[in-house]
Subunit: 210 residues, 2 copies
DNA sequence: TAGATTGTTAATCGATTAACAATC
DNA sequence: TAGATTGTTAATCGATTAACAATC
């Protein structure tokens, strides 16, 4: 039964399903049951069937799920191949790490340009992506709209740039700064990658271990 | 009332509390109520009081919480200043980005060394951290134990290195690879930073927007 | 057909919110 | 003292798990 509202907990499991199914598919596995999938991901079979039922009926009774079919269904739910585009702001170490190592295309995003405030970086290319001066951001986006902006700038620049991105029509911000942007971004969705929060959580867990 | 078991949901909010309190403290704010704190973080006052009550009684009735006192209490709960140590494996772009930009010390971790498989990188220093060849990992850790290992290596090397870290006494793994390590790491805690999952979630959310 | 496994409904469990006595 | 705000208990809400008829 297709739901209109799907909880965040379910949505955050979808990428894990997708990753696991991609691996199975790569290993030429044809079919998988909810219980096998659950074992692979540390979840119950019941939860997986419940999760998937938010989006439709993808299995066959007595058989399970066709791996490749389910993988494509989830890709579609996640919006891969929906033609998303992205720009990246801030070509410091982290920005360069993403440009060089992260396969945006694999997840359905075309990264068309990067921007930096340092004049010397304008005009160069990093991993095939052209770098422009941040002053030209609005001009660029009016010509070449982007679905999301990737924020890899110093904390102090985050709010202003987020607002400029949103005003230029960006629908989501992938925020790698430690600034909380929720309040500043109007209708846009903010997805945070807070390294510090993650490390502090780990620190807590190793401290509490017996 | 002090609980022995604290849910993951509570623990993942603690770093946010800590960050917010650090900001208030920096702005010389002396006291804060649960409702003010809740407003700042997008949570209910009730939830904040409930969360804090897992660890003790830190407030005063009719007054609220002393910002600096609460900040220190949470730092203590999170295990900051517990003398954690860390090593980093893999000095590619992402590893270098962390070495150059991420302030481990600020979160209570001393990063003592980095390792790489490329022979030319052995002997250099990155942001003051010495880089050694990964063949010397066990020798090094037997002399200088580490609480956690930071994994910024290619996916294919993740499992083997995680296991070597755990065998050398590491208690936690901060995993930046896309490999799921849960099953391979015995008693050690694994904290994942999966960029792809984060981006896919964002992709879903901007696709579903009205 | 018999065994397996789905999708879904019902039961349980856990987390969030509300309410309030205690008290600064 | 009166107003404010805590810590905690009770009520609600939502998410996970269990059960099972449908059926491949």
């Amino acid at each position: 039964m297709k739901r209109e509202y799907v909880s965040g907990a379910v949505i955050r499991r979808l990428p894990r399903y997708y990753r696991h199914l991609t691996e199975l598919s790569g290993a030429n596995v044809e079919r998988v049951s909810s219980s096998a999938l659950g074992k692979g991901l540390g979840l119950t079979a019941s939860q997986i069937r419940q999760d998937l039922s938010c989006f439709g009926e993808f299995g066959q009774q007595g058989y399970g799920y066709k791996v490749e079919k389910l993988r494509r269904e989830i890709a579609d739910i996640l919006g891969i191949d929906r033609g998303h585009t992205a720009v990246l702001l801030g070509t410091g170490n982290l920005g360069r790490a993403l440009l060089n190592n992260f396969n945006f295309k694999k997840y359905g995003f075309q990264l068309s340009a990067a921007f930096d405030i340092v004049p010397e970086r304008a005009g160069i290319e990093i991993a095939g992506v052209p770098v422009y001066h941040v002053d030209t951001l609005e001009d660029y986006l009016s010509q070449t709209p982007a679905s999301i902006g990737v924020l890899t700038v110093p904390k102090g620049a985050a709010v202003e740039l987020a607002q400029r991105l949103v005003r230029s029509g960006v629908k989501g911000i992938w925020n790698f700064t430690s600034m909380e942007l929720g309040a500043h971004c109007g209708g846009a969705v903010v997805e945070n990658v807070h390294f510090a929060d993650s490390l502090l959580t780990l620190g807590y867990m190793i401290s509490e271990e017996p």
